[in-house]
């Protein structure tokens, strides 16, 4: 068995700074650039020799709390992990639960899930791009990214009733139907966003300062990305065509014609530009969903039968699901199920073990940021100290998601 590249580099790093004169700088947790984590950056002159991420500042013990709650109550719990991308992160849990329960989701619900997932993905990418802007002190990109995110949050709010914490996907379907005139507003938002993306290119991505700061910085080679198990846009920017939307059969992605963008360079700029590409693809998916969406129920027949006829009638009129009482204590048969869902940051992995009781025996979540944490350790080494925020911004790391 050949020595893996990572182990080799690990030993090399240890040798590089152990016992030598290095300057230690702590970045975070109170720091303009770090948010909710600490990096112990060790410098030799101006060159980074070692970065030690110290996470756990937002560890809210979700895996343990999920064991104390009934299945359905964990959905709002998990969406607090990545509050900016909440439908995608809960969709993985719901998918795993549906596999355990053996439910088929009606087509309309699958399309609606896809719709909200893509809206979330755009919002999440804009959040990441905004942060990537402020990490090189480009305040306009930050403000534009966050400001245009509001457009998508508003669409999500019209669809689900909440800005961030949608709790939209439930086992067997979704919680509410498409509101009236939603299609027009969504298309208007897409047209606006397409115009704005051109502005972004003008002021940020074609800006000489941005290019100087992000180009050829933090190059992640294809082989390294594969060995380190990186996910999401960071992986695709290194030339690997892998996306959980292609892998797992969820949402309506099998019926929609879309391409997963891939870039070859693997540097910080390509990671950012890939997010722009993904926003374009997501808008295309939203267009297709709005055209192709079939009529029908939004909750599985199995649960629809349990709702009293009178309530079912109001449900059809308002388009909002009234939960059947059974939902409070779903009892999946003993067994285990896994699910993978592509979030804005990458692939989230769920593993649920059920022992037949109304509460899960064990829920395991591995979030994309936790898997991408390795990047923050290995990419900055050998770069200058000022490159560290640029690399951090390009990876789009979200601490509450990694800490759970």
């Amino acid at each position: 068995m050949e020595q893996s590249s990572l182990t080799f580099r690990y030993k090399e790093l240890e040798r590089a700074w152990d016992g030598e004169k290095v300057y230690e700088v702590f970045i975070g947790p109170q720091h303009p650039a770090s948010g909710h984590m600490r990096f112990i950056v060790r410098l030799d002159g101006d060159i980074i020799v070692n970065v030690e991420p110290d996470i756990g500042y937002v560890h809210r013990t979700m895996e343990k709390l999920a064991e104390t709650k009934e299945y359905i109550k964990s959905i709002p719990l998990f969406e607090r992990a990545t509050i900016i991308d909440s439908n995608n992160i809960t969709l993985g849990y719901v998918r795993a639960l549906e596999k355990l329960l053996g439910i088929e989701v009606p087509p309309r619900a699958r399309y609606l899930r896809t719709l909200l997932s893509e809206i979330n993905r755009i919002a999440s990418h804009l959040y990441g791009l905004g942060l990537a802007g402020i990490f090189i002190n480009h305040s306009t990109m930050f403000m534009w990214g966050f400001g245009d995110r509001e457009i998508w949050l508003q669409l999500a709010e019209e669809l689900t009733g909440a800005r961030l914490t949608h709790t939209y996907s439930i086992p067997g379907g979704v919680r509410s139907d498409l509101p009236q005139d939603f299609k027009d507003r969504a298309l208007k938002a897409i047209r606006y966003m397409e115009r704005r993306l051109k502005d972004y290119m003008k002021i940020f991505f074609n800006n000489p300062v941005t290019v100087a700061r992000y180009k050829d910085i933090g190059i992640l080679k294809k082989e390294d990305a594969k060995r380190l198990g990186i996910v999401g846009p960071n992986l695709r920017a290194s030339g690997v065509r892998y996306d959980a939307r292609l892998v797992e059969d969820y949402g309506a992605y099998r019926e929609i014609d879309f391409e997963v963008p891939v870039r070859e360079e693997g540097d910080a700029l390509s990671r950012l530009l890939l997010r722009i590409d993904e926003i374009k693809i997501s808008m295309d998916i939203i267009r297709q969903v709005l055209e192709k969406i079939p009529d029908g129920p939004i909750l599985a027949e199995k649960y629809l039968r349990l709702i009293p006829p009178k309530l079912r009638k109001t449900m059809e009129e308002t388009g909002r699901v009234k939960f059947p009482g059974l939902f409070a204590s779903l009892r999946p048969p003993p067994g285990e199920a896994t699910a993978r869902v592509e979030m804005g940051h990458g692939e989230v992995f769920y593993h649920i073990i059920s022992d037949g009781s109304p509460k899960p025996y064990r829920v395991r979540i591995v979030t994309p940021s936790f898997r991408n944490l390795l990047l923050l350790r290995y990419l900055p080494v050998g770069h200058r100290f000022m490159d560290f925020p640029a690399i951090y911004g390009s990876v789009d790391y979200f601490p509450p998601e990694a800490d759970r």
Binding site: R227, G229, R364
Partner: protein, 157 residues
């Protein structure tokens, strides 16, 4: 030769059981001293990185089950997750570290140590990851670590 046959041929001499609970999941159970060998063979099949490392506490059987989920970026393998699991004794949970086989086990194994107290021998930095460094209670994901159930508001103490 499809994937199932390949896996059975490759692993039948060391696996204690190979199951297929779902179309996208292959569960391989091995003894704890064969874990390294099994992992290497799975990598040779093409499952080159881990999706997760997790521990499941089984107090009734006095064991902790350590589960590795391996996945692949290859187009023909990516639809499947290989689950490799083994059991270690609950009072002496020791296991060989797999970071030489799957490099991204570095933080995943460290978290499992943090949360369940499974010691991975050969892991270079078994330090607190998510819990505060001054944590001195039993690992929180063990079943005998009780948190208050829902509906009761608790104070900090």
């Amino acid at each position: 030769m499809n994937l199932r046959e390949k896996i059975e041929e490759k692993l039948k001499d060391i696996a204690t059981s190979i199951e297929y609970p779902r179309p996208d999941l292959i569960v391989i159970a091995v003894n704890r001293d064969r874990i390294m060998e099994a992992a290497q063979r799975i990598v040779e099949l093409g499952f080159d990185h881990l999706a997760s490392v997790e521990g499941v506490d089984l107090p009734k059987e006095n064991a902790i089950e350590v589960i590795y989920h391996a996945e692949s970026y290859e187009e023909e393998l990516r639809n499947t997750i290989v689950e490799l699991k083994t059991r270690v004794a609950r009072d002496d949970p020791k296991l060989q570290s797999l970071i030489n086989v799957w490099p991204n086990a570095l933080y995943l194994e460290r978290e499992t140590w943090d949360m369940l107290g499974v010691v991975f021998e050969g892991h270079p930095e078994l330090k607190r990851l998510l819990l505060p460094p001054w944590w001195d209670d039993i690992p929180p994901l063990r079943k005998d670590y009780k948190v208050k159930v829902e509906g009761i508001i608790v104070g900090t103490k």
